[in-house]
């Protein structure tokens, strides 16, 4: 194949917005988490479990992890796009990154609902 530079993928805006939206959510969650953790009656496993037994808090925390993994996907993908030139290798790294992050999301859910 003739080696031409082809650009014009017509995407990128949604990722850019998503990266910002997830960052804002993570910042807000961090404040909520800090407030909740500091207002615990005692720093024990029971108090910790009780905090996560709250459905709303569990939901917000799971959302935090989803935001983190989606944010990480865009950030890590950007690193591959910036520094990894061979297309095959870049594609492979993209796939590995997605698999890992989806796996982490499942793992995070498992941990959360086990607390």
């Amino acid at each position: 194949m003739v080696n031409r530079i082809v650009v014009g993928a017509h995407y990128g805006l949604k990722d850019w917005i998503a990266q910002r939206a997830t960052a804002v959510y993570m910042a807000i969650y961090t404040l909520i988490f800090a407030a909740c953790a500091l207002s615990l009656p005692e720093f024990s496993h029971e108090a910790w479990s009780a905090l996560f037994a709250n459905g709303v808090f569990k939901f917000l925390t799971f959302l935090f992890f989803l935001a983190l993994f989606f944010h990480a996907w865009i950030g890590v993908r950007d690193i591959w796009m910036d520094y990894v030139k061979p297309v095959g290798l870049r594609l492979a790294l993209h796939v590995v990154t997605i698999f890992l992050l989806v796996g982490y999301a499942g793992w995070a859910a498992q941990i959360l609902w086990r607390l």
């Binding site: 650009v7 014009g8 017509h10 995407y11 796009m81």
Partner: protein, 236 residues
């Protein structure tokens, strides 16, 4: 005024003679009239005429004498020689192929500039006199049209270093916004389509080296932000 001597450390490379580039230590005695770095370089050339660099207007309008001065891109003709720490280290603009000494091959830079169609697209018949704008609409073009394409910004941008073939770069994107912001232009959608690409626009990670080095005091990062804002307005 007494004569001043300035020490230089200059990147030298003549592909016809040199196997690889080297840094040359050289000093020059300045005349009282030599105020700017470019004056010193012209003086230096009378001493060593093999030294090559581009220059033309010598007043910050043509953008020819952009170079890396003590680690920061700038125009030799706008840089005061007296304020510079010595030895003054001069290198060609980073990231572009060197033709000789301080002269770089700007093909890639201009290719990106041309890719954003840097001209007004208006399919209406030309009016008898001119296409008018309101003062407010015209105001939006301030800080955009003044770019002299010296390439100081794009060649200080890490995103442009890594992907000069795909990322338009700060200079090109500033020019792109200049036409997106122009109320007389009718190709806004096509321009935004052309830039909606993870490489062409979204390689900008807001590092802001471009703003730091622009010899005309322009702000490509703000222009890039406004392009993104237009895309959001269009999509949301």
């Amino acid at each position: 005024m007494s004569k001043r001597t300035v020490q230089f450390k200059i990147y030298r490379y003549d592909p016809d003679k040199d196997e690889k580039p080297y840094m040359q230590d050289i000093s020059v005695e300045l005349e009282a009239s030599d105020k700017k770095l470019l004056d010193a370089l012209v003086r230096l050339k009378t001493k060593d005429d093999s030294l090559s660099f581009r220059r033309s207007c010598r007043e910050g309008v043509c953008g020819s004498d952009a170079m890396n001065i003590n680690g920061k891109n700038g125009l030799a003709c706008l840089t005061d020689i007296d304020g510079l720490p010595q030895p003054v280290v001069l290198r060609p603009l980073p990231g572009l192929p060197v033709i000789r000494d301080l002269i770089v091959d700007m093909t890639q830079f201009f290719k990106q500039y041309h890719s954003i169609k840097p001209y007004l697209v208006n399919n209406d018949p030309a009016p008898e006199r001119e296409r008018l704008q309101s003062p407010d609409d015209r105001e939006e073009l301030n800080g955009l049209y003044e770019c002299i394409l010296c390439a100081c910004c794009s060649t200080s941008c890490p995103s442009f270093w890594w992907n000069p073939d795909k990322f338009v770069g700060p200079a090109g994107l500033l020019a792109a916004y200049r036409f997106i912001a122009d109320t007389r232009d009718q190709a806004t959608n096509e321009r935004l389509d052309n830039l909606e690409d993870p490489y062409r626009l979204f390689r900008c990670h807001t590092i802001m080296n471009c703003v730091d080095v622009c010899p005309k005091g322009l702000n490509p990062t703000r222009a890039i932000g406004k392009i993104k804002e237009q895309m959001v307005r269009r999509a949301v």
